[in-house]
C-alpha cells in the first residue's frame, strides 16, 4: 500500500491528537480503584472518645478517623480556617461564647440527617467538661469555662470529630468513606504461629455532602513489620505505607517517594518523682548537660530527626528556637564530681526504662547511657527481664509524645497532664510570650529532658496522585486519586494491579 501524503497527514494528526489526549488524561483526576494503606499499628480505634492523648495509637486512629468523620472546621495550608460542618462562626469579645452555624442537608453514611443535637453529643464527649455545648436552631453554642481563643485550632485537630453513637455502640460519620469490612488479626491456616494481619476496608460514601471521594475503597492493613512495609511499597502491594524513621534512608536510597511531616513526635526523658526533689538538682542538671542530641539526630537517626531542646516543636510555637542546645561535658563532669555518696547515678546506677515501643527507642536509651558515662554518670537501661522491676527501682524513663493539637496551649496542657501527672498547667492564655515563659520554667526544672523531634514518614507510590498531606499529618485521602499502572509495569503476585486497573474516568459512577 502506498502511503499518500494525505494518509500520512491523517496518521500524524491522530498521533498528535493521541498525545494531546494522553496529556489531558494525565491531568484529569480519576475516580475508582482501591487505595492500599499499610500501617505498623496492630489495632486501631475509630472511637475518638477512647484515644489517649499523645500516644502513637491516637495519631494513627486520627488519620483513619478522618476518612469516616468530619470536623466543624479545618485548617488549610495558608493559616485559614475553612468551613466543614460549620458554615459560619462567631465569638464574643471574651472568647468564651462561640456559635457555629451548621451546614444544612448533611447526612450520615446511612443517609440519616445530621442534627445539632448529635454534634453537641459528639463534641461534648471530646472537648470535655470545661466546655458546655448546647444545640440551637441549625447551630450549636459553645460556652467555655475560661477564654478559648484557640477553640478553632482545637476543633480542627485531635479527636474533635463529629459522629453519632449507634444503639449498638458503633459510630457513624458524615465523612467521605464508611467502614464496610473489618477483620481482626487471626492465625494463618496451617501455620498457627504466623498471624494474618488485621484489615479494615473503607468504602466511598457516594452521597458525601462534600462530593464523592475519588477512590472506591481504602483498604488498610495493620500490624505489618517495618521492613515488610518498605518491601510492599517497592513491589506495589501498598500504595501508602508508614516508614519507620530508621528505614527512611534505606527507602530513599531505593528510590521510594517518601513524604515527611513537620516533627510530630517528641522523644524525651522524664525523671521519676523521687528524683525530681531539690536534692537531685545536680544529677538532673548533669544529665541535661551530658546529652548529645546532635549525634542522636544525625548519626543514630541518620539526619531524619531534629535535636530537641523544647517541649513543643518550632513549627507549632514559632519560639522553640530560643531553647538552645545546652551540651557541656566539662560542666557535667564538674557537677558529677560534687555528688555525695549514695546519689543515684554516682555509685548506684540510675535505671532507665524505655516506655516507647520499638527497637529504635531502645537504641536511643542506650545512647543516653553512653552520653551519661562520658560525664561519669552511671545509667543502666532496664532490660526486658528487668522491665517488671518495682517502680521505685526506676529513676528515669524514655518516652515518646505524639502531638495532637494545633493549639500550642492545648498541647502543652495535655502534655503536662499526661506526662507530669498533675504538674503545673500552662497559663490560661494563648499569648506566645506567656507560653514561652511557662515552657522555659518547666525546662529549667530539668524533670523532662527533650532529646529529639521525629517527623512522620510515609511512603507514597508514584501512582498515588494529588497526595497533599498537611504538615501536621492530616493525610486528606478523600482528595487522592489513583493513576493506572504504566503499560508494561512489572506484575507482582498479589499486586494491586487488578484494583488499580478498575480506575475510571470521572463521572463514570458505579
Amino acid at each position: 500500500m502506498r502511503f499518500t501524503e494525505s494518509s500520512w497527514f491523517a496518521a500524524a494528526s491522530s498521533t498528535l491528537l493521541a498525545l494531546v489526549c494522553g496529556t489531558m488524561l494525565a491531568a484529569s483526576p480519576r475516580y475508582g480503584g482501591t487505595l492500599h494503606v499499610k500501617l505498623r499499628a496492630i489495632s486501631v480505634s475509630l472511637d475518638p472518645r477512647e484515644w489517649k492523648p499523645g500516644s502513637f495509637a491516637a495519631a494513627e486512629n486520627e488519620k483513619l478517623a478522618g476518612l469516616v468523620y468530619d470536623r466543624l472546621v479545618t485548617l488549610d495550608d495558608y493559616g485559614k480556617f475553612q468551613p466543614v460542618l460549620a458554615t459560619e462562626w462567631t465569638r464574643d469579645g471574651s472568647a468564651r461564647n462561640w456559635q457555629f452555624k451548621l451546614r444544612p442537608g448533611v447526612h450520615f453514611s446511612d443517609r440519616t440527617t445530621l442534627t445539632p443535637g448529635e454534634v453537641v453529643a459528639a463534641l461534648q464527649a471530646t472537648l470535655g467538661r470545661s466546655f458546655e455545648i448546647a444545640a440551637a436552631e441549625n447551630a450549636i453554642n459553645i460556652h467555655a469555662s475560661r477564654p478559648a481563643p484557640d477553640l478553632l485550632e482545637q476543633l480542627a485537630s485531635g479527636r474533635n470529630f463529629v459522629f453519632r453513637v449507634q444503639p449498638d455502640g458503633t459510630l457513624l460519620g458524615t465523612g467521605p468513606f464508611f467502614v464496610t469490612e473489618s477483620t481482626a488479626a487471626a492465625p494463618v491456616e496451617g501455620n498457627p504461629a504466623a498471624l494474618k494481619p488485621a484489615r479494615i476496608k473503607f468504602q466511598a460514601n457516594e452521597n458525601c455532602w462534600a462530593g464523592r471521594p475519588f477512590v472506591d475503597f481504602v483498604e488498610v492493613t495493620l500490624g505489618e513489620p517495618a521492613l515488610r512495609l518498605l518491601f510492599d511499597l517497592q513491589v506495589g502491594k501498598a500504595d501508602i505505607a508508614e516508614i519507620a524513621p530508621d528505614l527512611v534512608r534505606k527507602g530513599r536510597q531505593e528510590g521510594l517517594r517518601i513524604w515527611s511531616s513537620a516533627p510530630q513526635t517528641l522523644v524525651a526523658l522524664r525523671f521519676d518523682d523521687a528524683l525530681s526533689a531539690p536534692a537531685s538538682d545536680d544529677l538532673r542538671e548533669a544529665l541535661w548537660l551530658a546529652l548529645d542530641r546532635d549525634t542522636m539526630a544525625n548519626v543514630l537517626l541518620q539526619r531524619e530527626a531534629q535535636p530537641a531542646t523544647a517541649l513543643l516543636p518550632q513549627w507549632l510555637t514559632g519560639y522553640a528556637l530560643l531553647f538552645e542546645s545546652p551540651m557541656d561535658l566539662q560542666r557535667a563532669r564538674g557537677l558529677r564530681a560534687g555528688f555525695s555518696a549514695g546519689v543515684a547515678g554516682a555509685e548506684q546506677p540510675l535505671r532507665l526504662r524505655v516506655d516507647a515501643p520499638g527497637d529504635l527507642f531502645k537504641l536511643m536509651g542506650e545512647r543516653v547511657a553512653v552520653n551519661a558515662r562520658q560525664a561519669n554518670l552511671l545509667v543502666q537501661v532496664a532490660t526486658s527481664s528487668s522491665a517488671n522491676a518495682p517502680a521505685s527501682a526506676v529513676g528515669l524513663r524514655l518516652f515518646a509524645w505524639h502531638y495532637d493539637s494545633l493549639s500550642p496551649r492545648a498541647e502543652l496542657e495535655m502534655f503536662l497532664k499526661q506526662v507530669t501527672e498533675g504538674g503545673e498547667l500552662p497559663p490560661n492564655t494563648t499569648d506566645p510570650e506567656q507560653l514561652f515563659t511557662q515552657e522555659h520554667r518547666l525546662l529549667e526544672e530539668r524533670r523532662i529532658l527533650p532529646l529529639v523531634f521525629l517527623p512522620d514518614y510515609v511512603g507514597v507510590r508514584a501512582t498515588v496522585r494529588n497526595w497533599n498531606a498537611s504538615a501536621w499529618g492530616d493525610w486528606r485521602l478523600a482528595d487522592v486519586w489513583l493513576e493506572p499502572e504504566a503499560a508494561g509495569a512489572a506484575k507482582v503476585p498479589g499486586n494491586t494491579q487488578k484494583d488499580s486497573s478498575t480506575a475510571r474516568n470521572p463521572g463514570a459512577r458505579p
Partner: protein
Amino acid sequence: MQSSARNSRQKKWGRPFVLGVLLLFGFSAAVYRPRTSVFADSDTAMKETARRLAERVAAIPGLHGPLRLEWHPEEKWPEDEGARWLEMLRGEFDRRALPISGEAGAAALAVYAEETPTQVVLTARTQIGDRDEVRIVAVPRAVMPPVEASVAPVRLERQLLYEITDRILDAASLSNGAESGLGVLLYRNFELIALRLDSKGEVTQTVPLNVAGLKPARNPHGEMAPHGNQVAVELWGRTCDFSWDSPAEVKCRAEKSSSLERSAWRMGTALTSPCDESNWTVSEGGNDPTAREVLRLVPDGAIKGSSATVMSEFPGPVVNINAEQRGGSALLVVRNLRTGNYEVYRIKLVCGS
C-alpha cells in the same frame, strides 16, 4: 452532688431564651463568614504587629543606646516579604527611640519571624547584662497581606486582575458598551456563585446559582460563556443560563456529556500574536495541582518542546483559561500556592523583549 450541679448548669445553658439574649448582645468580636473580597488594607496587620513588638521591646528595662538588628525571617518567605517586614520593624523601632545601628559594638537585638500553622510569630531577643530578655508577639496568618509575586521578564505579558480566598472555577471578560468588567465563577462553601466585577475589580453583582440536582464535587470544574448580558455556565452534569439583568431566574438543564469528564482546562486555547498575527496554542498543563505551573504556548506548526515555545511560570497550578474576544488575550485562573488564594490574570503576547 457534683453531678447534680452539672445537670443544673446544663439545664440552664440549654434554655434557648438565655442563649438568644447572650448571642444577641454578646457576639460582636469576631465573625467568620465566607469572604467575598480580600485584604482591604494590605499593610495594616503587618504594621500593627511590628508596632506591638517594638512597643514590647522598648519597654524592656535597661535597654538603651543603638541596637544592632539581626533579622532572621521565616525561611519559606520570598526575599521581598522579609524585606517588607524588616522595613516595618525598623520604622517602628525608630519611632520608639530605639535607633538601629550597623556598628559591631552595638547591643544585638535578634528578631525572628516564624510561621506556625495559624500564626506569624515575631520573637525579639536581646541581652541586658547577663540577663536574656525575650519578647514575643503573634498575628494570625489569615489576616496577613498576600505577597506580590515578582514577575520575571517574559514574552508573555501578564496582569493580575483579581484575587480571592474562594475557589475560582472560571473567569470571563464582560463588556457592556464602553464599560468592561469581569465575570467570575466561584465555588464558595460548596455553593456556586457568579460575581460581576467592574473595571476596578469591585464586586457589583453577586448571583447565587442554586443548581438543583448538582452533586458537590471534589474537583469542581465550570466554564462560563457570556453573550452580552446573558451568561451560559457549564458545570459537571448541568448547564445553566442566567442574565445579569434578572439574576433570580437561573435556568438549568441536565447534560449527558459532563464537563467533569474533561476535568481539565480549555486545552486548545490560542492567543494571536500582535506582531505577525500568528496563533500560539497552550500546549499542556494541569498535571500537578500541588506545584507551580509553567504555562507553555507553542506557535501553530511548531513541534512540542521547540525553541519557539513561550513560557511563563505562575505561582501555582492553572485552574482554567478562557480566551478573550479577538484572541489577543486570555484570562487565566491560578491558585497561588503561597497564599492559597485564587487569582485571575490577563495574559497576552507582546512583541520584542
